[in-house]
Amino acid sequence: MTSLLALSPLILVCATAIVVMLTIAWRRHHDLTATLTVVGLNLALAAQLLAWWQAPLDVTPLITVDGLSIFGGVLILIATLACATLGHAYLEGARGPREEYYLLLLCAAAGGIALVSSRHLASLFFSLELLSMPLYGMLAYTYRERGALEAGVKYMVLSAAASAFLLFGMALLYARTGHLDFAGLGGALASAGGDGWLLAGMGMMLIGLGFKLSIVPFHLWTPDVYEGSPAPAATFLASASKVAVLVVLLRLLQSAPAIQDAWFHSLLAVLAFVTMLTGNLLALMQQDLKRLLGYSSIAHFGYLLVALVINEGMAVETASIYLVTYVLTTLGAFGVVTLLSSPYGGADASRLHHYRGLFWRRPYLTAVLTVMMLSLAGIPLTAGFIGKFYIVAVGVEASRWWLVGAVVAGSAIGLYYYLRVMVTLFLPEPGMQRRDATTDWAQRAGGVVVLALAALVVLLGVYPAPMIDWVRLMAAT
C-alpha cells in the first residue's frame, strides 16, 4: 500500500493517459480532452504530497521515491501543466487532429516522472525512451509545416543514435562490474579504479545523456529543433524533458561518487566550460527567438554542469535552485511565443521582427517577456538572479576559478542578445508585422499561466527564502 501511495503520481499520470485515449476514441472534443488532461495532472501534482509522506522509499529495485524524485516530479508536472494549457491555446485554431497532442504529452510526462525516480540503468533507459518517443510525435505535430517535420525527424534520428551510445555504455559498465543498479555500480566503480573499459562506458553514457541536455559537442540538433517545432512541444522539450534528464544525471553522480575520477571529472569541467561559452557565442547573431532560446538553453545547461562538476557542498542545492528558476523562466518565455503564434496557422511567430514594438500593442505580454529575458540574463529582481548567484557561489566555494571566470564571461556575452530581444520589444514599428495575440489572450488559460509565471519569477527574485527552504527540504530527504 505504501508503495502504491509513493507511486501514485506516476500511476495517476498513466491513468489519465488511458482515460484520455479512451475519450478520444469515444468522441473527439478538444476542450474536453484538455480539461481531462489538466485535471489528471493536477491530481498527480496533489498526489506528490502523498508520495512525500512515504519518502524515502525504494519501491522496487528499479524505482525509488525520495526528495530528489519528488522535486523533479513536481517540476515536470508543473511544466507539463503549462504545456497542456499553452497547447490548448495553440491548437485551438489548428487544422487536423488536436486531441492526440495531450495523449503524447501525458506519456512523455509519465516517462519523465519515472526517469527522475530511476535507481537502475534498466529503468533509466526504459523511462528515457518513454520520455523521448512521444516527443518525436509532438515535435512533428504540425506536420504540414516543413520546419516541424524536419525538427521531428532530426530529433528522432539523433536521439536514436544517442540511445545507442547510452546502451553501449551501459553494456560496457555491466560487462566490467556486473551491476546495473546505481548503488552497486557506484560501489564496483570505486573498487575497480580507472579501468579503460569503464571509462569508455561512462564516456558513452555521458554522450547519450549529454545529447538530451544538449551539452556542447552534442548540441547541434537543438537550435533547429527548437526553431522548427510547434511552440508548446518546444516548451516541453526545453523544460520538462531537460529537468528529467538532469535530475537523473544528478542522481547518478550522487549515488556513484567514484564516477568522478580525475579524468572523468576534468572531462566534465571542460564540457561545462565549452558549453557555457559556445552557447552564448552562437546565440549572439540569431534572428529567431526560438532559435535564440535554444542556444541560451545550451548556455544555461553549461552553468548547471558547473554545479554537477563540483558535486560537493552546496552543489545539489545549487542545481535544484537553478533548475527551478530555469524552468519557470523558460516556460514563461516560450509561453509568450506560443500565445503570439496561437491564433494563426503556418509557422510560429518567432522571428525577432514579429516582436518589434510589441510593447505598444500588448504591454502586459511584453512585460512578461521582458521579465523572462531579464531572468535568463540573471538580473536582480528576478528568479534568474538567485540561480546565477548560487552558481557563482558554488564555484567560488570550491575555488574553481576557471569555471567562475567562464560563468562571468558567458553572462556578459549573454547580456548582449537578451538585451537585443528586450529592446526590440520596445522599439517603435515602421512597417510593422501584424502577428499578434488575440485581444482576449489575458482572459484565456494560457494568458493566466504566463502572467502567473512572471509574477512567480519576480516574487522568487525578491523573496527567494521559500524556494530555498523547499529545495533544501527535498535535498535532505
Binding site: 531579464l374 562571468v408 556578459a412 547580456l415 538585451l419 537585443r420
Partner: protein
C-alpha cells in the same frame, strides 16, 4: 523605517507615473516631480534633525539611522540599511538631481511619458538603495538593478547618432560593461563570504562581520585579488581610464535627464562604493594598490582633458571632462588623508552640480538648435537671452575658479594629498591648464565668434531660469561656505582615514583648514 520609505517612494512613484499616463501627458510629470520633492524633503528633514558630527569609538561604525530585517536566512542575508553623513549627502544629492532630471525633461520627452518617468524614478530608487545598503548582497542587488532602467532610458529616449542604431549600441555597451564588472564584484563578495564561513562557520553578508574577516582572516594575496574585484567594478562605473569606453557614447546618446542622472549620481555610486566598501574592507591591499590608483587617476585627468579638447559634440566634451574630474576623485580617495577625503565629498557634489548644469545647458541648446555639434554653433551670445551668462558661470565652475564648489573640492584633494604624494599633486595640478583650455573652448565655440544666423532664438522660460539659477546658487553656496557639508561628512571620512592608516601613522602631521 524612514530609510525604507526613502527607497520605496521612488519605486511607488514610478509605478504611479506609469499608470497615470492614461489620464494624459501632464499627470505623470507632476507625480514624478511630487515624488522627488517628497524624497528631497524627507532627506532634508533627516539632515535637519540628525547630528552627524559625532565620532564613534575606534573602529566602530556609527550609523545615524539603521534598519534591518531578515531576507534570505539561508545565507544570513539581511535587508540592512544604514545612514551616516556620507550616505546622507549622497541621497540628498540624488533627491535634488532627481527633481532636476524631472524638470529638465518637461518638454524634451514627448513620447511614452509614463514609462519614461517609471524608468527615471526607478534609477533614482536603485541609487538610493545603493547609498543605504550595508548588507553586501543587498548592495549588489541595487547596484545591478539600477542598470536596467538606465538601459531603457538610453535605448528608448536617447538621441540617435549619425548612424541608425547608435543609441541602442551605446546602451548595450553601458549595460555590458557595468554588468560584467559587477559580476566580478559578486565573485569578490562571495570570496569574502566563504572566507568568513571558513573562519566562523556561518554565512553572513553583513558589512561589519565581513570587515572583521577581511582584516583578520585573509591572506594578503587573497585580499589583493578580492580588492581588485571590487576596484574593477567601481572603476568601470567611475570611470577610470582604461575602463571608460562606455561613458562618452552613453552620455552622447542619452536624453538630458539620463545624462544628468549618469554624471550626477551614477558615477558617484562608484566613488561611494570605494569609500564605503573597497577601502574599509581591504585597507592594506588598498594601500599597496594606491600607487597604481594614483597613476590611473593622473592618466584619467590628462586623458579626459586632452580628449575633451578635441570634441565637436558638446555632450561628449562634457563627458570627457567628467573623466578628468573623476581622476581627481580617485587620487583623493586613495591618498587616504581626512583632508583629501573631505575634498572628495565636496568635489563629488560640485561635479554633480556643474556637470548636470552643463548637460542641461546642452539639452537646452539642442531644443533650440537641434544639434549639439559645436561647429554649427557660434555667436550665440547675442541670440539667446540669459543662457550664455549662466553657461559662463557653469563653465567657470567646471574649470575650478575660486568661489565655486569645484575649487573647494579640488583644492582640498590636492592639499590633502600633498603631504604623502607631493609629485602626484604637482603633476595633477597641471591638469588645470587643460581644464581651462577645454572650458574656454566651450565658451569660444558656442557663444562667441561669428554668428551663423541673426534670428534670435527663444530665451529661457521661467522653468529653465528657476532650475539653472537654483543650481548656480548651490554651486556658489558650497564654494563660499562648504562648512555644513564638511561637518556632515566629517565623522564618516575620519572613519575611513582611521581604517586606512591603522598600521602606520601618517607621514606628515595633519593640518586642519
Amino acid at each position: 523605517m524612514i530609510l525604507v520609505c526613502l527607497i520605496l517612494i521612488p519605486f511607488i512613484g514610478g509605478l504611479l507615473c506609469w499608470q497615470a499616463e492614461r489620464f494624459g501627458e501632464q499627470p505623470p510629470r507632476w507625480i514624478a516631480l511630487g515624488t522627488m520633492l517628497l524624497e528631497l524633503a524627507l532627506v532634508l528633514g533627516v539632515w535637519w534633525h540628525g547630528d552627524y558630527g559625532l565620532n564613534a569609538a575606534q573602529g566602530a561604525a556609527d550609523w545615524a539611522l539603521e534598519w534591518r530585517a531578515a531576507w534570505i536566512p539561508r545565507f544570513g542575508i539581511e535587508v540592512h540599511l544604514a545612514l551616516d553623513g556620507l550616505s546622507l549627502i549622497m541621497i540628498a544629492l540624488t533627491g535634488l538631481l532627481g527633481v532636476l532630471a524631472v524638470v529638465c525633461s518637461w518638454h524634451e520627452i514627448s513620447r511614452r511619458i509614463g514609462f519614461f518617468h517609471l524608468n527615471l524614478l526607478w534609477i533614482l530608487g536603485g541609487v538610493v538603495g545603493v547609498f543605504l545598503a550595508i548588507d553586501l548582497f543587498l548592495f549588489f542587488f541595487f547596484w545591478e538593478m539600477m542598470l536596467v532602467p538606465m538601459y531603457f532610458l538610453i535605448a528608448l529616449w536617447g538621441h540617435s547618432g549619425s548612424t541608425g542604431n547608435t543609441r541602442i549600441q551605446a546602451a548595450t555597451k553601458f549595460f555590458i560593461y557595468t554588468q560584467a564588472s559587477g559580476l566580478l564584484m559578486l565573485v569578490a563578495i562571495l570570496g569574502l563570504v566563504f572566507a568568513h564561513y571558513a573562519a566562523t562557520g556561518e554565512y553572513s553578508f553583513s558589512y561589519e562581520a565581513l570587515r572583521h574577516t577581511a582584516q583578520n582572516e585573509l591572506s594578503p594575496q587573497m585580499a589583493w585579488w578580492l580588492m581588485l574585484g571590487f576596484f574593477i567594478a567601481f572603476a568601470v562605473k567611475m570611470p577610470v581610464v582604461p575602463l571608460h569606453g562606455w561613458l562618452p557614447d552613453a552620455h552622447a546618446q542619452a536624453p538630458t535627464a539620463g545624462s544628468v542622472d549618469l554624471a550626477g549620481i551614477l558615477l558617484k555610486t562608484a566613488a561611494y562604493g570605494m569609500l564605503r566598501f573597497a577601502l574599509p574592507l581591504f585597507p592594506e591591499a588598498s594601500q599597496a594598490f594606491a600607487p597604481v590608483a594614483m597613476g590611473l587617476g593622473i592618466l584619467g585627468i590628462f586623458y579626459g582633458a586632452i580628449l575633451a579638447c578635441g570634441q565637436h559634440d558638446l555632450k561628449r566634451l562634457v563627458a570627457y571632462s567628467s573623466i578628468s574630474h573623476m581622476g581627481f576623485v580617485l587620487i583623493g580617495i586613495y591618498s587616504g588623508t581626512e583632508l583629501a577625503l573631505q575634498g572628495v565629498v565636496v568635489l563629488m557634489v560640485a561635479h554633480a552640480f556643474s556637470a548636470s548644469g552643463l548637460f542641461i545647458i546642452s539639452g537646452q541648446l539642442y531644443e533650440r538648435l537641434h544639434t549639439r555639434d559645436m561647429r554649427l554653433m557660434g555667436g550665440l551670445w547675442g541670440r539667446i537671452k540669459g543662457l550664455p551668462g549662466i553657461a559662463l558661470c557653469f563653465v567657470a565652475a567646471s574649470m575650478g575658479i575660486p568661489g565655486t564648489a569645484n575649487f573647494v573640492g579640488e583644492f582640498l584633494v590636492l592639499f590633502g594629498t600633498f603631504g604623502t604624494w607631493p609629485w602626484v599633486v604637482v603633476v595633477a595640478s597641471s591638469g588645470f591648464v587643460l581644464a581651462a583650455i577645454y572650458s574656454l573652448f566651450i565658451m569660444q565655440r558656442v557663444y562667441f565668434g561669428p554668428a551663423k544666423e541673426d534670428t534670435p532664438l527663444g530665451g529661457l522660460d521661467g522653468r529653465e531660469i528657476v532650475m539653472m539659477l537654483g543650481l548656480l546658487v548651490l554651486v556658489l553656496w558650497v564654494g563660499l561656505y562648504p562648512g555644513p557639508l564638511l561637518d556632515t561628512s566629517e565623522a564618516a571620512m575620519q572613519n575611513v582615514e582611521r581604517i586606512m592608516t591603522l598600521e602606520e601613522t601618517p607621514a606628515m602631521p595633519e593640518e586642519t583648514p
